[in-house]
């Protein structure tokens, strides 16, 4: 016979596996991309191996941090033994694993992209290595933000006290909270990476326009994260709204549906927003006198690109609040 404690420890192991299993994908791809481009760069100019190696290692270390977040959550899931007060802790463990693991995919890939293009850029114009390094550090650090959202939700799911939450719609709320942030963070992570990659290439080619490029990159990155913020919002709503006990299936599935809607809905627009900002950064670096019109077009284009994630947010809010 299975009791609550058995369920909790079994699903903690499942959650740990999900966290580090998914979480390792992104960082590995991103680091591999960076190492590949570093090799390509060295084939042009082998005498710069010291600078390129240093730059590659710094970039990889940042990309690695997404996987390290996932490792921390996985270890917490493996070794913490919560009080078996309610079976909801088991669902919270799975939600935490999904949230951390899925959100680390995008950020890992994204943070690797600027690191790779920085290696090529340094070889092309070695005298501007410092400017390139600064832009790369800003870009790949911002790429980590979606993974940090995932980690925040994972910690909330791990450490909040759910003993007052009813089990029956509660399981869907916790699972949905994990899925919403985890899935929605994937798109903006990759999108931010695409933006920073073009910005780093632009700064490496035209260092004299570095200030404009950095400014446009930062605007693009912060607007590009909005779909991850919507997923994060739905997760917070799912965790913190007071639920009434109900054994009906529809009450559980509406919460799960809200999580899936805002989660999947964030992926595509997140990548799309990154593509818009990437082209804008590329052309601001080449033609700084058109910065004003490019920024305006970028913002208008991003506002329209975001609309499908807004529809997903509306459907999710309807499911959580109105029904």
């Amino acid at each position: 016979m299975l009791n609550t404690a058995t369920y909790i420890s079994a699903s903690s192991f499942l959650g740990a596996a999900l966290a580090i299993g998914f979480g390792a994908i992104g960082a590995a791809v991103g680091e591999g991309y960076a190492a590949g481009l570093a090799n390509q760069a060295l084939s042009f100019r082998p005498e710069k191996s010291g600078d390129v190696l240093k730059n590659m290692l710094v970039g990889q270390a940042i990309a690695e941090s997404a996987a390290i977040f996932a490792l921390v959550v996985a270890i917490l899931l493996l070794f913490s033994t919560p009080q078996p007060k309610t079976v909801l802790i088991a669902w919270a463990a799975i939600g935490a694993g999904l949230s951390m693991g899925l959100s680390a995919i995008g950020s890992g890939v994204g943070a690797g992209l600027p690191a790779g293009s920085a290696c090529v850029g340094i070889v092309r114009q070695p005298q501007n290595a410092n400017k390139v390094l600064t832009t790369m550090l800003i870009g790949s650090a911002v790429c980590q933000t979606p993974a940090i959202f995932g980690m925040v939700i994972a910690f909330l799911l791990l450490f909040l006290d759910f003993s007052n939450m009813p089990v029956y719609p509660g399981w869907a709320a916790l699972l949905g909270a994990g899925l919403a942030t985890g899935l929605a963070a994937g798109g903006p992570g990759v999108g931010n990476g695409l933006t920073s990659r073009e910005a780093v290439t632009g700064v490496a080619r035209n260092p004299e326009t570095g200030t404009e490029t950095n400014r446009v990159m930062l605007i693009g990155l912060s607007v590009g994260q909005s779909t991850a913020i919507y997923g994060f919002l739905i997760s917070l709503l799912l965790v913190f709204t007071g639920l009434e006990k109900s054994t009906s299936l529809s009450d559980s599935f509406r919460l799960l549906g809200a999580g899936l809607s805002s989660g999947f809905g964030g992926i595509g627009p997140g990548v799309g927003l990154g593509v818009v900002a990437a082209y804008a950064c590329k052309w601001v670096a080449r033609r700084p006198e058109a910065t004003g019109i490019l920024t305006r077009t970028m913002l208008v284009g991003m506002a329209v690109t975001e609309s499908t994630s807004i529809y997903a947010l509306i459907v999710a809010l309807l499911l959580v609040i109105v029904f």
């Binding site: 919507y230 709503l237 506002a303 807004i310």
Partner: protein, 224 residues
């Protein structure tokens, strides 16, 4: 967090129909209109060579939207449509910014406001299309490239109304809910004002501009 799902309404029974009024939206819309009328009065009261501050803002808005409309519609139609475009932008901008003042809320947070503005733009665009091209050319426009595409073109036209109004509504509503949730979670003095700045001023301005530009583009598609 009961504020989210609570909408103050009154229902009037008129000849067997129930008329529902959202009090808050009506009051806020009137506040916006009052501010705009006052602004218009102050900006045009004493037009001088050395302008007063209101006149400077007014001239800035008018001249930039005049150029935008001229770009989209051409020299001959700009006089006719530019008052609509400029006042639409001013109304939306002020509506989106109204929420940053405590106790007030954005009228665009209610789906009825963006939806009615979207339907208004749709009707104006199609009316001017029929007027400029003639009814025969207008109907022919739906049968491009082949006649079987007519139902899809029709759905596409209706989808424009839905997309333009849901985009504005979702952005403003989402921003308001994010601010509410964060203010409930953290009792900080720093984070909620920053979010108010981002969602109220920045996102609100961009969405007002996008709504206005899309209305302009839809009109220019019909009349050209």
């Amino acid at each position: 967090m009961e504020e989210i799902s609570h909408i103050p309404q009154i229902t009037l029974n008129l000849l067997g129909f129930n008329l529902v009024f959202n009090i808050e939206t009506i009051v806020m819309t009137w506040i916006v209109m009052g501010i705009l009328i006052t602004f218009g009065f102050l900006a045009t009261r004493k037009i001088a060579f050395v302008p007063n501050p209101f006149q400077v803002v007014g001239e800035l808005l008018v001249s930039s939207f005049y150029d935008l409309t001229k770009d989209a519609l051409g020299e001959d139609m700009v006089k006719k449509y530019f008052p609509l475009i400029c006042s639409l932008f001013m109304f939306l901008l002020l509506s989106d910014w109204l929420g940053i003042i405590p106790m007030l809320s954005e009228p665009t947070k209610d789906l009825n406001t963006p939806l009615s503005l979207g339907i208004m733009g749709f009707c104006i665009a199609h009316y001017s299309g029929i007027k400029v091209k003639g009814i025969k050319q207008y109907v022919k426009g739906y049968c491009e490239p082949i006649i079987f595409m007519a139902p899809l073109n029709l759905i596409g036209e209706l989808a424009k109304v839905i997309s333009i109004s849901f985009r504005l509504f979702g952005n403003i509503m989402g921003g308001a809910i994010i601010i509410l949730v964060v203010s409930h979670l953290v009792y900080s003095l720093i984070l909620p004002p920053l979010l108010v700045f981002f969602f109220g001023l920045f996102v609100g301005t961009i969405q007002a501009f996008v709504f206005t530009m899309l209305t302009l583009v839809y009109i220019s598609l019909q009349v050209k």
